[in-house]
């Protein structure tokens, strides 16, 4: 989005860039606290699971399950 001169093309692209960053942050947070097996290492359980009451909505928002 910033290729080739290091700047976004316009305000629409800036909003898309911000939404992409937000989506990546929510997904990373959801994967970090999701109870149960790790997505990329199903043989190992998540060592830092969050309570289901607030991990559930976060995981649902990220679509990680």
């Amino acid at each position: 989005m910033v290729f080739p001169d290091g700047r976004v093309r316009g305000p629409v692209w800036a909003v898309l860039l911000g939404l992409s960053g937000l989506g990546a942050a929510v997904t990373a947070a959801a994967l970090a606290v999701m109870p149960g097996p790790l997505v990329l290492y199903p043989a190992l359980d998540n060592p830092s699971p969050a309570p289901e009451s607030w991990a559930g909505p976060l995981v649902g928002l990220a679509g990680a399950r």
Partner: protein
């Protein structure tokens, strides 16, 4: 002639036009780098370059100690995915260093270095997981080693 511009000689090869364009000065001069960003580029490249290189070497040594075992990563079968991890880390590190030092005004160089550092951390944790299957004890519990790159 329509447009009134210079006539294009269609009998010349395209390469001639490309070389002619390359010799023509740009209409706007290249942007001067922001002095703060330019001053930070080299220390940033040094810190990330050294830490990424250390992670890649440590990962290679750990993986070799494990007998080139396949880590328990969900997509990995055989040794080639780990080789791809190392190849990606090395190429991104090299291109990120060149771009950050030669063009400190562009964000693509530091972004490449950050990507190289993340890939190298993944390679190191995967190598640690492969080593943990052979060793009696490892410095980091396997669950945490898997959690970091996840």
């Amino acid at each position: 002639m329509l447009g009134g511009g210079p006539r294009t000689d269609l009998t010349r090869p395209a390469s001639t036009a490309i070389f002619a364009a390359a010799r023509t000065p740009a209409r706007s001069p290249p942007e001067r780098p922001n002095p703060t960003i330019a001053a930070l580029a080299r220390p940033f490249a040094t810190v990330l370059g050294v830490s990424t290189s250390v992670m890649l070497v440590a990962a290679l040594l750990l993986w070799a100690r494990s007998g080139f075992e396949t880590p328990p990563y969900v997509f990995m079968r055989g040794p080639w995915p780990m080789v791809a991890f190392f190849a990606t880390g090395v190429t991104q590190l090299a291109s990120g260093l060149v771009l950050t030092i030669r063009r400190p005004d562009l964000p693509v160089g530091p972004l490449g270095l950050l990507f190289a550092a993340i890939v190298s951390l993944g390679a190191l944790m995967n190598a640690l997981l492969a080593f943990a299957e052979q060793a009696a004890s490892v410095p980091l519990p396997p669950a945490w080693a898997a959690w970091l790159p996840s």
